[in-house]
């Protein structure tokens, strides 16, 4: 498989604090990579290192098969569009003037500019001053400015932050369209729900460490959902399981966490042996949210 971004043991330390710890990111070309993690987990710092805005304390970044560093960055950055932390834009200029700036700076054709503006549906808002834009409009203008150079890779840091549900849906839809058009998108969020359905590959960061990386299916497979045992005597059944597995009562059923198929069979046999009537054993429905909370310890979300 070819990776458009790959890092080796990428780390950043500020003083004695390690804020990004030995990341081995693998972003397949053509995917939408959802980069998830609670606030302060190191998402922005990582993205800045991918763009060489911040130099790693140790480790390496490869983008499009080339090392990304201060010597190579300008060449590579011509193919990368990005939006880090807050959207860019000169408030005293109109949207159109801001876009024209980018056009002059990068020597772009009118069609490239028009297409970028239409992609974010900003063509009717360009005569307002950016100072008077809503946050959502600033985000979209920022994305248009990033898209104008027709990048192969788009790095967006929390583009849905502070947007209303309609604005969030609009960004999601935009990411899908870009991905269909062949752009690899890396998008971060501290809210799983915001990129859940758009991301094809997920990387989950917690305390600067990558605790999961893979597809959504792989994520489900990585964690075992709870087993729910239905019985007319849940209290009795629960006491029978004490010391054997982690169990608790849940709405008239017994919930057992973290057990595989073999242990499930042993648990059922044990309960039957103890004279408990069992009329149902099932795995709980697990949402991606649960898995995420599970992995990140539910902290700070």
């Amino acid at each position: 498989m070819s990776y458009i971004v790959a890092t080796e043991q990428l780390s950043k330390r500020y003083g004695s604090r390690t804020v990004v710890d030995s990341l081995n990111l693998r972003i397949p070309a053509g995917c939408v990579y959802g980069f998830l993690g609670p606030n302060g987990s190191g998402k922005s710092t990582t993205m800045k290192m991918l763009l060489s805005l911040v130099r790693p304390s140790s480790g390496e970044v490869q983008v499009m098969g080339q090392p990304m560093n201060r010597g190579t960055r300008r060449r590579l950055l011509g193919h990368i569009g990005s939006l880090i932390e807050s959207p860019p834009g000169y408030g005293h200029l109109t949207g159109r003037e801001n876009i024209r700036l980018v056009q002059r700076l990068l020597d772009l054709r009118d069609e490239q500019i028009d297409q970028a503006v239409r992609t974010v549906r900003m063509q009717d808002q360009l005569d307002k001053k950016v100072r008077d834009y809503s946050l959502g409009m600033k985000q979209r203008l920022g994305i248009a400015m990033a898209l104008a150079r027709q990048p192969r890779l788009l790095i967006l840091d929390e583009p849905t932050n502070g947007l209303d549900p309609a604005g969030i849906e609009e960004i999601r839809d935009l990411l899908r369209r870009l991905s269909d058009g062949g752009v690899t998108v890396m998008v971060s969020s501290h809210l799983l729900g915001e990129i859940d359905k758009t991301a094809t590959v997920l990387g989950i960061l917690s305390g600067g460490r990558l605790i999961f990386q893979g597809t959504r299916d792989e994520l489900f497979a990585a964690s075992t959902p709870d087993v729910l045992i239905d019985t007319p005597h849940p209290e009795y059944a629960n006491t029978q399981l004490k010391g054997m597995v982690a169990s608790r009562l849940d709405h008239g059923a017994v919930r057992v966490s973290g057990i595989g198929d073999q242990t499930t069979a042993r648990v059922v046999a044990h309960l039957v042996g103890a004279g408990v009537d069992i009329y149902g054993v099932r795995r709980d429905e697990q949402s991606l949210e649960d898995v995420f909370m599970d992995l990140t310890g539910g902290g700070g979300l």
């Binding site: 763009l51 911040v54 060449r75 000169y90 700036l101």
Partner: protein
């Protein structure tokens, strides 16, 4: 060239143009009001006018004016996501620093042109000084504009480094003060080391004030031109290196 054109586009609706016009006009008018209030007239005609405006302007206000212009030009880059956007594009640090410096230098040159024009208008209209100012003032003004270039590079570098608007302007004030002291002490070689000394020296050229002899020699002109070129090259290299090595903040 694209980077320079982009920089000029950013000046639209900018306060910079107000500074370019108001600062020199205010300086000349203040000088004229002083003269009028004291009940005197510029005895030496254009020479007195020149001393009270251009030379005085070159002591502190010019450096401070360039400082203000540089801070205005960089202020927008320190806002929101603009810094990250600027540094995550394909434009090299050299092109970024050079285009910013060009803009500040052009604004400084415009400020000098406004100053010259105001001197002539006030001289003719308010003081009815006979005849037009000597032609060498134009040549000296061009030299002053050239001398402003390394100051523009330095102030632009300071405003790139500091988010504070006033910080770099304070540096300009202190630098101009140091330059005055050095020139008063007759240390003309300061023009090869301190850009602020270069603008003071250029504005004093041919006036017989401070360390100046009153005559404009080829050596004087050459030292200003060489000082400007050397300092511009050195400061551009230094500020470019700093920008390229620097990590983004926040």
């Amino acid at each position: 060239m694209g980077a320079v054109r982009a920089e000029f586009l950013k000046l639209k609706r900018s306060l910079s143009w107000t500074v370019v016009v108001l600062l020199p006009v205010a300086m000349v008018i203040a000088g004229a009001v002083n003269t009028l209030v004291s009940g005197s007239r510029p005895e030496d005609g254009w020479h007195t006018m020149w001393l009270r405006s251009v030379v005085f302007h070159g002591l502190f206000p010019l450096a401070i004016g360039i400082g203000i212009l540089a801070s205005l030009v960089w202020r927008v880059e320190h806002r929101g996501g603009n810094w990250n956007a600027l540094m995550s594009g394909p434009t090299s640090a050299l092109r970024i620093m050079a285009s910013k410096a060009v803009v500040v230098a052009v604004l400084a040159a415009a400020m000098q042109a406004v100053l010259l024009l105001t001197v002539v208008v006030i001289g003719v209209v308010v003081f009815a000084i006979p005849g037009l100012p000597p032609g060498r003032y134009v040549g000296v003004s061009l030299l002053i504009m050239l001398a402003c270039v390394p100051v523009a590079v330095l102030q632009s570098g300071l405003s790139m480094l500091m988010r504070s608007f006033a910080g770099p302007i304070a540096v300009a004030f202190l630098g101009a003060g140091a330059a005055v002291v050095l020139l008063l002490a007759g240390l003309d070689a300061a023009v090869f080391v301190i850009p602020y000394a270069l603008i003071s020296r250029a504005t004093q050229l041919g006036t017989g004030t401070f360390g100046d002899t009153g005559a404009i020699t080829g050596g004087d002109v050459a030292s200003i031109v060489i000082g400007a070129l050397v300092l511009t090259a050195a400061l551009t290299t230094a500020t470019t290196q700093i920008l390229d090595r620097r990590d983004t903040r926040t």
